[in-house]
């Protein structure tokens, strides 16, 4: 797992994906920080965090698109799958590499809070709560992106498909409001990523939501392992 994690981290930087991801993330979050926090003369970072949902949604597919699709295309998966390592180590190594880069990116909020601390008092508990919420949201999204990347050989297809899937998850609330069937509506609302995430930005630390995001992450990592396993059998 360690070897794959280190290689994947190296590949993020040598391929330039890390630089694109980090710079776009910093730029957009900086704009939200400037407009939503400093521009509104407040130290409340909730609006910034709720707007960042959409950035995370569009940027995470860039992180995950080539994790497994490129391996398959370049036949390097043959090297991994014939090495004495398990499928879980391979998948987790890649997953954790993407998660690490995401954590580096979202940790920019601590730079923002240092800036804020010069302008007023920072409310640390909601800020840390939001930081954590974004972390587990990212953890779930990366797992979904990784799963989609395992389904195709084409990294662009993986990126576009991931964006569409994540966008659909974002729109789940609006879709639910259009549905008349009561049970379906409830089901869709229960799956909503956005409303759960926004709950955190409102200052509520909801344990069921934490469990929900972590379960989604685990479920899709599990599915990814199954995809790799199934490919050997077909």
């Amino acid at each position: 797992m360690g070897a794959i994690y280190r290689r994947e981290m190296g590949a993020f930087f040598t391929s330039g994906i890390a630089y694109v991801f980090l710079s776009v993330f910093f730029l957009l979050s900086g704009i939200f920080f400037f407009n939503g926090v400093i521009g509104s003369f407040t130290t409340n970072t909730s609006t910034m965090f709720s707007s960042m949902f959409i950035i995370v949604l569009f940027l995470i597919p860039i992180l995950t698109m080539k994790l497994l699709s490129e391996e398959k295309k370049n036949r390097t998966d043959q090297g991994l799958l014939t090495a004495p390592v398990g499928l879980w180590s391979i998948v987790l190594g890649k997953y954790l590499a993407a998660l690490t880069l995401f954590i580096i990116a979202e940790s920019i909020v601590f730079v923002y809070s240092v800036i804020l601390s010069y302008l007023g008092t920072v409310a640390w508990p909601p800020l840390l709560g939001n930081y954590f919420a974004m972390l587990i949201l990212g953890a779930a999204f990366i797992a979904i992106g990784l799963f989609i990347s395992s389904l195709t050989e084409n990294q662009m297809a993986a990126a576009v498909a991931s964006m569409v899937v994540l966008l659909l998850l974002y729109l789940l609330d609006s879709i639910a409001s259009l549905v008349s069937n009561e049970y379906l509506k409830k089901g869709l609302n229960a799956l909503s990523f956005y409303s759960r995430y926004v709950e955190f930005t409102g200052g509520v630390f909801s344990l069921p939501s934490v469990v929900f995001f972590l379960s989604v992450a685990f479920f899709f990592i599990f599915l990814t392992v199954r995809v790799l396993d199934k490919r050997r059998w077909s």
Binding site: R6, A11, N74, R75, T76, G79, L81, V85, R231, R232
Partner: protein, 377 residues
């Protein structure tokens, strides 16, 4: 070291590998031979655990690859058809990664140096794999397989894309490795297999068509006893040719005689085939002494690996044609050859017609014959 029992692989309704069984002993170099799509790579991918078998069992060093894949894979170094190289890494970084991936316990620096020296890639260790030539990429792939010194090496067409010098180097290296490793090697280059391997398995249409040393396979496949003779007649004209051919044909135990082209002025070559296990060389010698002819050359032409390969892979139809040809000496003869990787069977003209055309078409025939006898010279 490796034991394969009743291995099968099915893709949808296509049976890629059908009930293959074989064993490879420690320190043996086994050659896998077969036409494209015969199931060589599929078998190798199953041996290395990259894909699973539909049925059957693979034991590597006594460990079932499906039951304990990690332990079994730790014993195998694999060079797939397309080396699994991360082109955006340097050679050094890549080999370091494989070293970590295989959880190698050997002293890192010394081991990587050894592997690089063995594969002659020490000079390119700081270059990006992307920028290496095909030959160097192949060697980096081989180096990757050698990391952690696995007792079994599985190499899928290791010399593809190398220049002749490099091919010889790699062959020498494989021979050297074969002393301390068990090696399974696939190739479609027949001389290569013959030069390197102790034993050969020919796979055709997913089944083992032959298994043994080249000589054993040749012996099993045919009992034919063929030779080429060059006999100097008394008159040095074409009439010699008919007389000599008829005289040999009249000998006991001779199955088939064909007068070949004129190799020296007025002297002809004869392809002679004896019946099963009958040695007719002494009888021919006596005959020539009696008639006052001189034998200028006698060459036994046993089947080459190429002949065997063609016989096996061309299927039953051609084998049938060949036997038909041996029964009626004047019948059409099939001339098998490989052109652009395709097997082509052309019908040769009968002896009578050949005689007329011989003068004008001498050069063409020569080329044909050289191709036919290419493996023996």
């Amino acid at each position: 070291m490796i034991e394969v029992k009743n291995l099968s692989k099915r893709y949808g309704d296509k049976q890629a590998v059908n009930n293959i069984s074989f064993k490879v002993e420690k320190g043996e170099i086994l050659g896998f031979l077969g036409p494209n799509g015969a199931g060589k790579s599929t078998t190798m991918n199953m041996l290395t655990g990259y894909i699973s078998s539909t049925s059957g069992q693979i034991l590597v060093n006594g460990v079932d690859i499906l039951e304990d894949p990690i332990a079994a894979k730790a014993n195998i170094g694999y060079l797939p058809e397309i080396p699994p190289l991360y082109v955006d890494m340097t050679v050094d970084a890549y080999l370091g990664f494989m070293y970590d991936l295989k959880k190698c316990k050997l002293p890192r620096k010394a081991h990587l140096n050894d592997v690089c020296n063995l594969c002659k890639i020490s000079g390119v260790r700081n270059r990006l794999i992307r920028n290496l030539s095909k030959g160097y990429k192949q060697r980096v792939g081989l180096a990757q397989a050698l990391i952690n010194n696995p007792p079994v090496l599985i190499l899928d067409e290791p010399t593809v894309g190398l220049d002749p010098n490099q091919i010889i180097e790699i062959r020498t290296l494989i021979k050297k490795l074969g002393k301390s490793h068990t090696v399974i090697l696939s190739s479609h280059i027949l001389p290569e297999i013959q030069a390197v391997c102790d034993r050969i398995i020919i796979i055709n249409k997913g089944v083992v068509a032959a298994n043994g040393t080249a000589d054993e396979i040749a012996r099993n496949i045919t009992n034919e006893h063929k030779m080429t003779l060059r006999i100097e007649g008394s008159t040095h004209t074409a009439s010699d040719k008919k007389e000599i051919a008829d005289a040999i044909r009249a000998l006991g135990g001779v199955k088939y005689v064909r007068a070949d082209m004129e190799r020296e002025k007025g002297i002809y070559d004869y392809d002679v085939e004896a019946e099963e296990k009958v040695d007719i060389r002494r009888a021919i010698n006596d005959l020539c002494r009696e008639k006052g002819w001189n034998i200028l050359m006698l060459q036994l032409s046993d089947l080459t690996l190429e002949d065997i390969f063609l016989k096996i892979t061309m299927g039953d139809t051609v084998v049938g044609d060949v036997s038909q040809q041996t029964e009626t000496s004047s019948g059409p003869k099939l001339n098998l050859k490989v052109e652009d990787g395709q097997l082509i069977a052309t019908e040769q003209l009968s002896d009578a017609a050949e005689e007329i055309l011989e003068e004008s078409a001498a050069d063409m025939n020569k080329a044909d014959d050289e191709e036919e006898n290419g493996g023996e010279e």
